[in-house]
């Protein structure tokens, strides 16, 4: 098998930032001669290769292109030019509740979130007990999640995701919420993934997590790769 699971070659990404979402705003803007469409050059000739089993942290300021990069790898957005190849099943750890419905119970949401992540219904059924156990919210599993705290919702979301068995795991700031204990548990689970040879792309503002977890960082600055290599050096460069 090809050891290069994620390959980007001269990837450029432009998108239009629409300043007005309604016709009323658009007409007003036209009269005032304001900008209506702004072209954003989100990624500038980005090239890198990630090999199977690597854990790569992506760091940089807001707007540096980190999330755009993740969107491209997840396949939800396409590069404007350049080439992008991803080999393997990509699982994004969905941010808190994106695949949830607040009126449905915890149990129903496990199924919903599971199929959104590409799991088979029969597989979810067989793992249901473990998923609920991992989340540690057995008591509340049959009430609508609108009564859940955000921490509880996060627990549920993460618990479903860790049972997906991904080849490539994308993590975007999911560890921002939740108590320390659960965070530890998640980090431990991610270590497990790492040992199993799962490729992990980790976007975070927490340098501590990145340093503990990744052996390589890509430091993005204004859409370009500023640094790609050893974690410690990358972080030092970023914090400077």
């Amino acid at each position: 098998m090809d050891p290069n699971v994620i390959v980007l070659k001269n990837v450029e990404k432009y998108f239009f930032l629409q300043h007005q979402k309604t016709l009323k705003e658009l007409v007003q803007a036209l009269f005032k001669k304001q900008k209506t469409l702004e072209q954003v050059h989100a990624l500038k000739s980005v090239s890198f290769t990630i090999q199977k089993g690597e854990s790569v942290g992506i760091i940089g300021r807001n707007g540096a292109g980190k999330s755009t990069l993740l969107k491209l790898i997840a396949g939800v957005s396409v590069p404007t030019s350049g080439s992008l190849t991803v080999n393997g099943k990509v699982v994004p750890l969905i941010e808190l509740g994106a695949g949830f419905h607040s009126e449905l119970t915890g149990r129903e949401n496990i199924y919903l979130n599971g199929v959104i992540l590409g799991l088979k219904e029969s597989y979810i059924k067989s793992k249901l007990k473990e998923i609920i156990e991992f989340s540690e919210i057995e008591k509340f599993i049959d009430i609508p999640i609108k009564y859940f705290s955000s921490g509880m919702q996060m627990r549920l979301a993460f618990s479903v995701a860790v049972f997906v068995d991904p080849e490539i795991l994308l993590i975007d700031e999911i560890l921002a919420v939740g108590d320390i204990e659960f965070k530890e548990k998640c980090l431990k689970k991610m270590e497990e993934f790492k040992k199993r040879g799962v490729t992990i792309v980790f976007v975070s503002h927490s340098m501590e997590n990145v340093e503990n977890f990744c052996e390589r960082v890509i430091y993005m600055k204004e859409g370009k790769i500023e640094f790609d290599g050893d974690t410690k050096r990358g972080i030092d460069l970023y914090l400077k």
Binding site: F15, T22, L23, V76, S77, A98, E103, V115, I116
Partner: protein, 255 residues
Amino acid sequence: MVIFKHWELLKHLTLREIKARYKQSFLGFFWIVLNPFFQMIIMSFIFSKVMRVQNLGVPYPVYVYAGLLPWLFFTNSLTNATGSLVLNSQLIKKIYFPREILVLSTLFSKTFDFFLASIIFLLLMVWFHMPFSFYMLLFIPIFIIQFLFAFGLSLLLSALNLLYRDIQYLFELILTLWFYLTPVLYATEFFPPKYRWIFRVNPMSVFINAYRQVLLTRSFPNWGSLLIGASISLIIYFLSRRFFKKMEGIFADIV
């Protein structure tokens, strides 16, 4: 086919919509049935007692209900589907699956409503001593064509609505006008002959007439008009699908 490949996702997204709705309200499923039922009662009163519509050959409540149900399926599908991509923007930004699944799940949940409300139609037929016949089964192919028509338009509108949110409101206005140009409350024969061409190019009118023919007059539908309706539906579906698929790559950027 997307439907088969992503069947479980489609199923759970559809269930989400159906479940969420009945959980939110006390009467739940009854609203789905009660709403068209009361509309039918009001329309029946106004048109058979106040305006005195005559010579339909069948009791007015049954006549109007046979047109009202497909019309409600159409408007409910489109208004909800148009907003479906915006509503699920969080998902669109995070994870890939064919986006038409979101639109389809909305249409499937409205199909569920349609069949649930149809029970009342059957009860009305029994109430008015109208005979059942095998022609009635033809409503299934007619519904499939109507579904395709609604699906095609939904793909187009949901994608456009991501660009400008006004599409939703604009289309609601169009729907109001469209309602009066569709023989829901009246029969096509009530219209002056020189304007009747409207009904031939309006697929909704074609479908409603076809439903009435197979359900109420116990005959075959007008194959010629149905063919026009089916062709328009297919053309709209293929064009909209192409547009939708072309836009799909930038959905996550503009949502």
